[in-house]
């Protein structure tokens, strides 16, 4: 068999192996998050339910546990009893050295969604109180 044909066979086997392996591991696509419709007539408890879903979808749970387990970031299982809504909003909008602001990518949440997340956080060790319209971005949008 000519060298060229043998080389083609080797190349096909190697690429075929990688493609096979890539297809044999767990598969699922990543889809862009869909925006929630959150209205002012929703109760704090309803907002907290939506906020729980947003918290999960936005990937907050990668660093923050809500069960007392130690992960990268602070545990939030008692955050509702320990922090007020204004402080939560300040942290969520400004971010920290290692946490990007919640209104910037990849979470990219709008004011209503952040309010829902705060309602959820208030429910952890406390009682949700905030409603849509209560929370505004405390920082002006300045040059990036």
């Amino acid at each position: 068999m000519r060298a060229g044909i043998r080389l083609i066979i080797v190349a096909l086997i190697v690429t075929g192996f990688y493609a096979w392996f890539g297809n044999s591991i767990p598969q699922s696509a990543w889809e862009a998050p869909k925006k929630k419709v959150l209205t002012p007539d929703m109760t704090p408890r309803q907002l907290a339910e939506e906020g729980k879903e947003i918290f999960r979808k936005a990937g907050c749970g990668v660093c923050h546990s809500v069960t007392g387990e130690k992960l990268r970031g602070p545990d939030l299982s008692r955050i509702g009893a320990e922090m007020d809504a204004e402080t939560m909003a300040a942290i969520l909008y400004s971010g920290t050295q290692v946490m990007p602001p919640a209104n910037k990518p990849p979470a990219n949440l709008n004011d209503e969604e952040i309010t829902a997340v705060i309602a959820y956080l208030q429910s952890l060790g406390g009682r949700p109180k905030v409603r849509i319209g209560d929370i505004k971005n405390p920082f002006e949008e300045v040059k990036r």
């Binding site: 060229g4 190697v14 297809n23 696509a29 990543w30 889809e31 990668v62 290692v98 990518p105 040059k143």
Partner: protein
């Protein structure tokens, strides 16, 4: 002059196709176009990645062609000059293919993603103009570099080397201009709240610009080395005389040497790139390393393992052509097991899931323990040590070490044990500190590894100073399977480049320009990993077919000479 214009026809064809694309994009009147059968995203992806692979090749080969040419000139070694010329032979046709692919990629991007691409035109017009001027200058430099090779010999060799320096400078600047756009997509800076670029300087010197340049430059040279080694392997398998076999064996070894030596630097460049990504947006870093894209690292580990094991296998077989190398073969099983174990650690993913939210609440303890960065860094560093030792064995094999220099062997063992101990101690400490400190530890490990490896080479150089060879290396006395190992390494390298090209683009998730311009097309998001690997394999095969044509036609041209 006629020859220059004729040789640049493909470049001008590419530029004209690109300008047609700009025109179509400006008048599109819609945000996203459709491409039949494979879809817009796949069409642009395939063209972009294939073009980038060729671009990597044509930027890399002149770097080591020049180095080999200079070495040949200083040592007055005609063999080295011939080797450099053999590598350079692959360039002209590769440039032509890159130009056409670049034109088609631009056309497809503007026709299918006009909103995104028009944003780029509006904000980066100046860089577009500079890019066009630079590639014309670069191809002109290549034309004169290649066509004057025979004329500028002897006393005029320095003029030819100066042309090579010019070609490399222009090539590097072209790469950097391209990286302005790619890095801006990833970590945009210098834009106002509406997304308009208000400081071109800030937009250019964004956080990932320098690390991408460094990483890409090194990766390109690695890639070029492996592709040239594959070319040599192809020629070796076709060779009919022992002289031809000896030449292509030596060429393959040189290409492999370039590939591996530069590849050893890549993880360190990668850490720097990763650090800047975390600095720009920690969550992007987490997405990249531990979230939706974590399986890329599993695949990458397997591909890199195949590359390093293939190369080491080639080198271990290569010991047989060195008289007096038998006693070093006893180290091979330890090295091979060391590499297998370290790659197994590297291949453990952070999570066996596809999205960030799925890992909320923690992961399996094996993933949690071995899936994080710290054990991977330790594993990679120890694997690097294994590959370096394989090279050192090849260098030392067949030499009689002078009696008074044997003390350096103990110093080398000391450095080897120190590398292993430091990596294990840092690894242990990494589990006890927060992740922000853990990331910094990777820099300290890097700062330790570079001089440690330097000392290893230094002591080995001192050890071998004045060492006599038992016999000459019998170049060409290699079995065909050794050449297939080089082909496997090259194919895997192409696949790895395409995989990591995808990874870098995928880190933006559903953004054309992260946080500035959202992807609202029906392709927003990421395909399943399996689907991505099919496209990556398709790109790899397309590239191999095209580079195979370069090999074939270059071979015909070489034969005529």
């Amino acid at each position: 002059m006629k020859g220059l214009i004729k040789k640049q026809l493909s470049l001008f064809t590419g530029i004209i196709i690109a300008i047609i694309g700009l025109y179509i994009g400006a008048r599109a009147g819609f945000d996203y176009g459709e491409f039949p059968l494979i879809g817009s995203r796949n069409a642009v992806w395939i063209l972009a990645q294939t073009m980038l692979l060729f671009a990597a090749f044509i930027l890399a080969v002149p770097v080591f062609v020049l180095i080999i040419e200079i070495a040949g000139h200083i040592r007055k070694d005609e063999r080295l000059d011939r080797l450099a010329r053999d590598f350079a032979r692959l360039l002209p046709l590769s440039y032509s293919i890159t130009a056409i692919l670049g034109g088609l990629f631009t056309l497809a991007s503007y026709a299918l993603f006009p909103k995104f691409m028009n944003y780029m035109t509006q904000n980066f017009k100046t860089t577009y103009i500079w890019f066009a001027i630079l590639i014309i200058a670069e191809t002109t430099a290549l034309y004169f570099y290649w066509t004057t090779w025979d004329k500028l010999q002897g006393a005029r060799k320095t003029q030819h080397i100066a042309l090579g320096v010019l070609l490399n400078i222009l090539g590097t600047i072209v790469m950097m201009v391209g990286n302005v756009w790619g890095s801006f997509h990833l970590s945009p800076q210098g834009v106002d709240a509406a997304g308009k670029v208000i400081s071109l300087k800030d937009a250019i010197f964004n956080l990932t610009f320098i690390p991408i340049n460094i990483h890409r430059f090194i990766a390109n040279v690695t890639f070029g080395g492996f592709i040239c080694a594959a070319y040599a392997a192809y020629k070796f398998l076709q060779a009919e005389t022992p002289e031809e076999r000896a030449h292509y064996d030596w060429m393959g070894y040189t290409g492999t040497f370039i590939g591996v030596v530069t590849m050893i630097l890549l993880p360190f460049a990668g850490y720097y790139f990763g650090m800047e990504i975390y600095r720009f947006n920690a969550q992007m870093g987490i997405t990249f390393m531990g979230g939706a894209l974590s399986k890329i690292w599993l695949l990458q580990a397997i591909v890199i393992a195949v590359i390093w094991l293939s190369v080491c296998y080639y080198l271990w077989i290569g010991l047989r052509r060195i008289p007096g190398a038998e006693k070093y073969k006893r180290f091979v099983p330890y090295l091979s097991w060391g590499l297998v174990i370290t790659f197994a650690v590297w291949a453990v993913p952070r999570a066996w899931v596809a999205s960030l939210e799925d890992i909320a609440g923690g992961t399996h303890w094996i993933y949690g323990t071995l899936g994080i960065m710290a054990p991977k860094i330790a594993a990679v560093n120890i694997a690097i040590l294994g590959v370096i030792l394989t090279f050192l064995l090849n260098r030392r094999a067949g030499r009689i070490i002078p009696e008074g220099r044997k003390g350096f062997i103990y110093l080398e063992w000391l450095v080897i044990l120190l590398i292993i101990a430091v990596n294990l101690i840092v690894l242990y400490y990494s589990y006890k500190v927060p992740s922000s400190t853990r990331i910094k530890l990777s820099i300290y490990t890097f700062l330790f590894m570079v001089p440690a490896v330097g000392f290893l080479y230094l002591f080995d150089g001192l050890l071998l100073k004045g060492a006599q060879r038992i016999g000459e290396i019998r170049w060409g006395e290699m079995p065909p399977r050794s050449q297939y190992a080089l082909i496997i390494a090259a194919v895997s390298n192409v696949w790895a480049m395409a995989l990591l090209g995808y990874g870098r683009a995928a880190a933006r998730l559903n953004w054309h320009i992260y946080g500035v311009l959202e992807d609202t097309s029906r392709y927003a998001g990421l395909p399943p990993m399996g689907q991505a690997t099919l496209v990556i394999s398709g790109v790899t095969i397309l590239f191999l077919v095209l580079i195979g044509l370069v090999f074939k036609f270059t071979g015909v041209e070489g034969g005529k000479r």
